[in-house]
Symmetry: C2
Subunit: 298 residues, 2 copies
């Protein structure tokens, strides 16, 4: 069995790589920092590479998990990038959450050399990366999906092909738009109810079973009532995703007025020092506007 | 058993009154139009009154179901209003969806004459009014709630007390804010995905089970994909509710920037002749901006 390449051993990548080791795979790893590489090497199941090119040269399938579009371009197309090491027929799977237009650009560059590519961003964050229960949204050819699926399943509870290259990241962006705006929706509603003198917990209980109900409402309202805003999923990261959504909107011609507004609201929270809080802290923006706190009464 | 008073026999009120008749109650009814009163009288279980005052004079409990705040004020506090007929100790229950500040004002005026009052708006719309499966959100004293609950249960599947007078309508407004913005959220997300070349149905299937999932997503996305926008709940009515939410926000000091934006988006749809479509047609605003349709492929 060929070793699996793994580029990017950060907060997400490291536990994901560990789950591959647990599943019995041997890895060739690369990160810009030496420390997480050393940690993986200590398992006895991973060797450290000097560059993404070396990783791709040694492995049939190379996985990438880095922060954003520029890092993916650098790791694949940059100097000593995966494209320099990979032979025709090999597969690169980028699990980073990035601009889908960049996924398509990277896919085209690799295709020109006969190398296959898929974008496979995840949702679920660090806890699910550790548990191996991420949700993968995958874009790419069905044959490549079939090839990578058993590997991705070692890191995720759900692995869904959404279309061709870029479709994974488009789906992820759609997800992030809905989540951000659903948090904003319950935030305005709960702040209004609270300052109008109604117990927000009773409002939550009265409306959660009807058309207003959502996974966001059940996940975030109880945390807001308990004043718990530790991440979870950081506002800073959510801003990055929405900026990518806006960028795609500009590229393909889709105005996103509400997405832009909630992105800038999160920007205001970041400027106010709350960028590392959970995105549930979006409610604090509306609380500040109204000078009231949505909290458990009595 | 005292007869039940019922003021307002419109699209919602008439089927609700019929459900009371079915449950064995006798009614005294009033409406500004003679036709729906005649229909109720034909059941043999209702008598028509000449004014709200006459209804309230003849019944211990009077229910109201009219379009908006001014109609409630007219029916209760206006010339020949319920306040003129009701004796101390009687109970008026307003089931209309109105500005909660008006609920409190009406409650205060009645209280000054020893008459009890509750606001008890519903969600569910005409189909659930007919089926008797509405959800009641009630504001008022616990004693009054206990008195009215068996009657409301003949018309609703759920009857929840949310606090004192006004709390019912505050809860309803919170509900309507969340519903409107959750529809807008899936709209921007699905329009982006579609124009970015990804099958919106696959996006829906990929994200509905995660944090982005909502009752709105499951209720409205399949209808949008099938291009079905018949009501349901009309945009015109949703605008009324959001205008009441904004009004409460002004009164108690809660800025509602996203609510204001989606209200004006619905306004644009109304101006464009779509006010009588289901609020799921909000997606058509974003489709028009992007010049694309979110529909089932193949």
């Amino acid at each position: 069995m060929s070793k699996i390449g793994f580029i990017g051993l950060g907060i997400m990548g490291k536990p994901m790589a560990r789950n591959l080791v647990k599943a019995g795979y041997e890895l060739v790893v690369y990160d810009v920092n030496a420390a997480p590489m050393a940690e993986l090497v200590e398992t006895g199941k991973a060797e450290a590479a000097a560059s993404p090119a070396e990783v791709a040269a040694k492995c049939d399938i190379t996985l990438i998990m880095v922060p954003n579009s520029p890092h993916v371009k650098a790791a694949v197309l940059g100097a000593n990038g995966a494209i320099e090491g990979a032979a025709p027929g090999k597969l690169v799977v980028d699990m980073s959450s990035i601009d889908p237009m960049v996924s398509r650009e990277v896919g085209k560059a690799l295709e020109a050399k006969g190398i296959f590519f898929m974008d496979a961003p995840v949702s679920g964050g660090e806890p699910k990366a550790i548990d191996g229960t991420l949700s993968f949204m995958v874009g790419g050819r069905q044959e490549d999906f079939d090839r990578a699926e058993p590997i991705l399943k070692c890191m995720g509870a759900s692995v869904v092909r959404c279309g061709d290259i870029g479709a994974g990241n488009v789906t992820k962006l759609a997800n992030q738009i809905v989540v951000a705006l659903n948090i904003a929706a319950v935030s305005e509603a709960m702040v209004l109810a609270t300052k109008a003198g109604v117990d927000p917990e009773l409002v939550y209980k009265a409306i959660r079973g009807g058309l207003a109900g959502s996974t966001v409402m059940d996940a975030k309202v109880p945390l807001a009532l308990a004043r718990k805003f530790n991440p979870g999923f950081r506002i800073n990261l959510h801003i990055k995703d929405l900026a990518n959504a806006i960028s795609v909107g500009h590229e393909v011609g889709v105005p996103l007025p509400l997405t832009a507004q909630i992105m800038e609201t999160m920007q205001a929270l970041r400027v106010d020092g709350m960028g590392d809080l959970d995105h549930g802290a979006i409610i604090r923006h509306y609380e500040k506007l109204a000078q009231v706190e949505v909290k458990k009464q009595g």
